[in-house]
């Protein structure tokens, strides 16, 4: 597999990359920090990756999106899958008070992810094949007072991907929306762990399966589909009174 990853230092992305490397795949990593990308690239080489390239950059530099995709395609001589994995959870209370922070959070979680997906689509349209896999969140299924900035960004992203999928389907290009629940990662390090938390490793398995089976939307682990189904079905007149 020739895999381009945006947000390559994220825990879920690292787990996916390790599995692809183990199978002898080729990878191109884009992330914010040169030093940590280097650590990951070394690791992937030992695990069996045929080739690993990397670019350290701020993922909100949208002028460079198509350049990065082109560099990756040049380095690996093609791209099979683009995985868009970056995201910031943010502190809801602080976001309510500080509009700069709120803007940044939506910019990172929604705008940059959506436009990276679009830039990838432009590349795949010429190739007439490929997969765009994007990490959304169960938080995007319904707005809640505890994290509606993050939820709105991820929910917006999901609607964007629905449209993109609709547009790319006739060309045989696959768009996968990944909706993990709680995952034990640095993003959730401050939360108390319980049985609802999945490991990045099991989420990575679910992502690779979703890619292979050309699924449209996957909840990871799958029990979140049921939980969110229930949460979505609660009438708004009741939901607004709940403390969630």
């Amino acid at each position: 597999m020739k895999l381009l990853i945006f947000g390559a230092t994220s825990a879920i992305a690292q787990s996916v990359a390790k599995k692809v490397a183990h199978e002898g795949g080729e990878l191109f990593l884009v992330g914010r920090h040169q030093d940590t990308l280097k650590i990951i690239a070394q690791d992937l080489v030992v695990r069996g990756a045929k080739k690993v390239g990397e670019i350290a950059a701020d993922l909100t530099f949208r002028e460079q999106y198509s350049e990065w995709v082109e560099s990756a395609a040049k380095f690996m001589k093609g791209i099979d899958v683009v995985l868009i994995a970056h995201g910031v959870l943010g502190d809801q209370k602080q976001l309510e008070q500080n509009s700069d922070n709120a803007f940044d959070l939506i910019n990172v979680n929604f705008i940059s992810a959506a436009l990276l997906a679009e830039a990838s689509a432009h590349y795949f349209e010429i190739e007439k094949k490929g997969t765009i896999a994007v990490i959304g969140s169960v938080a995007g299924d319904r707005g809640r007072q505890s994290n509606y900035y993050y939820g709105a960004a991820k929910g917006g992203l999901e609607i964007f991907l629905q449209g993109l999928r609709n547009r790319l389907f006739p060309m045989g290009i696959h768009v996968l929306t990944i909706k993990p629940g709680f995952v034990s990662t640095p993003m959730t390090a401050h939360l108390k762990k319980n049985v609802m938390f999945a490991s990045p490793d099991s989420v990575a398995n679910g992502i690779l399966k979703g890619i292979a089976k050309k699924r449209d939307v996957v909840y990871l682990p799958c029990f979140w589909a049921i939980i969110m189904g229930i949460i979505k079905s609660i009438p708004e007149s009741i939901f607004k009174r709940l403390k969630l």
């Binding site: 183990h22 914010r32 030093d35 940590t36 990951i40 690791d43 030992v46 640095p186 390090a189 401050h190």
Partner: protein, 458 residues
Amino acid sequence: MESKHKEPLGQSPISVSPLWDESRQSWGMYPKTTSLVSPLHWRGQEFSESSQDKHPSLSYLPFGRGRSYGDSCLNDKNILLGTEKLNHFIELNNETGMLKVEAGLTLKEVLEEIVPRGWFLPVVPGTQFVTIGGAIANDIHGKNHHVAGTFGCHVKSLELLRSDGTRRVCSQEENTDWLQATIGGLGLTGIILWAEIKLKKIVCPWISRETLRFHNLKKFFEYSEDSDNKFEYTVGWMDCLSQGDDLGRGVFFRGNHLLVKEAAELKVKQERIKTFPFHAPEFLLNRLSMKAFNTLYYHTHPSKKSEIVHYRPFFFPLDGINHWNRLYGKRGFFQYQCVVPYEGSKSPIFDIIETFAKSGLGSFLTVIKTFGNSISPGILSFPKPGVTLTLDVPNEGQKTLRILEILDEKVVKCGGRVYPAKDARMSKESFKHYFPERPAFEKYKDPKFSSSFWRRVT
């Protein structure tokens, strides 16, 4: 737009989580502890003053996967530095077999990558779920101790991060004394960030195994002496509840890596990992059930058998059952591992086994092995020449503690020692006798590092 993250992420200070966490326990499930868990994410992270601001009076201890049995991996009411995310390979030299890896990688993850490339870890214990850092900090041993020595014998270098922020690369060439203190140092000399290990060349993942039944302890010693120069791996399982003529009967396993290339094509049977679903109720664990299990285990093994097996069931038979420790119920269990001088039929091991067999306690899994004569590299390494016995004992409170104390007295008397990685109950006095080298270790201990075990025995 300028990046808001000028600091390289990999060098950010280690931060201590504000949550008290009870999810980090040891494999024996005793004692139960609570600690602040601070995960490490990158090997370049700093142990700065800002890391220590919030809790200036608390001590630190690295925590891998909690596969030590007792409290040597615990730091009750203090801070654990989780090494789970230090799980990156750094370099594998396919010519020399030199492997450089971060300390939080488990042996399982390492083996999965190196075995297909014709390499094996120089020493493996009975589970592949321990980390590289844990293997070094406990200077673990395996079924090949008689030829390979301990894990620490194969560590060429490592990097140690101390609470004062300093970093030291320790090897045979530089900081050798620090290397010796850190091997077997129970995580108390600082955080091991990465290590370089010399691997062993293999041809395929298969082991040719021979299984032999021994009807008493003397026969075990005969098999052991006979096998140690012909077989790289030897170990005995023992029925610790049989007495009289049958005292110390058991099953002897010996094996070598298969050297035939064609064997690479043998098919690996699809392993089904089972999970022990809940804590077994305590009434199921009694002398009767243990006696039945031990007798059955002995008799279901043929008196002699040769076969070819995959390395996983050969080295890690219990890894096939997740959470097998739940068999012992909520109260947990003790593992007792001692080494005593090897003096053939006069070995003090006879007395120890007999005392245990008559004590009324039982053990599902009793393992016996002769150690080789190699000198362990660590100041506080456990293995030394002699014979080592491991008992799994359900925690039945005072009664269990009293009998293990009696065993301690015997081990002290013959100049043996008990393995800290397995221990949750040895006394200060016993520890002093087992490890007279401790004063020499003190100088290397990080002043801000401690463990539940260390506070108990010092």
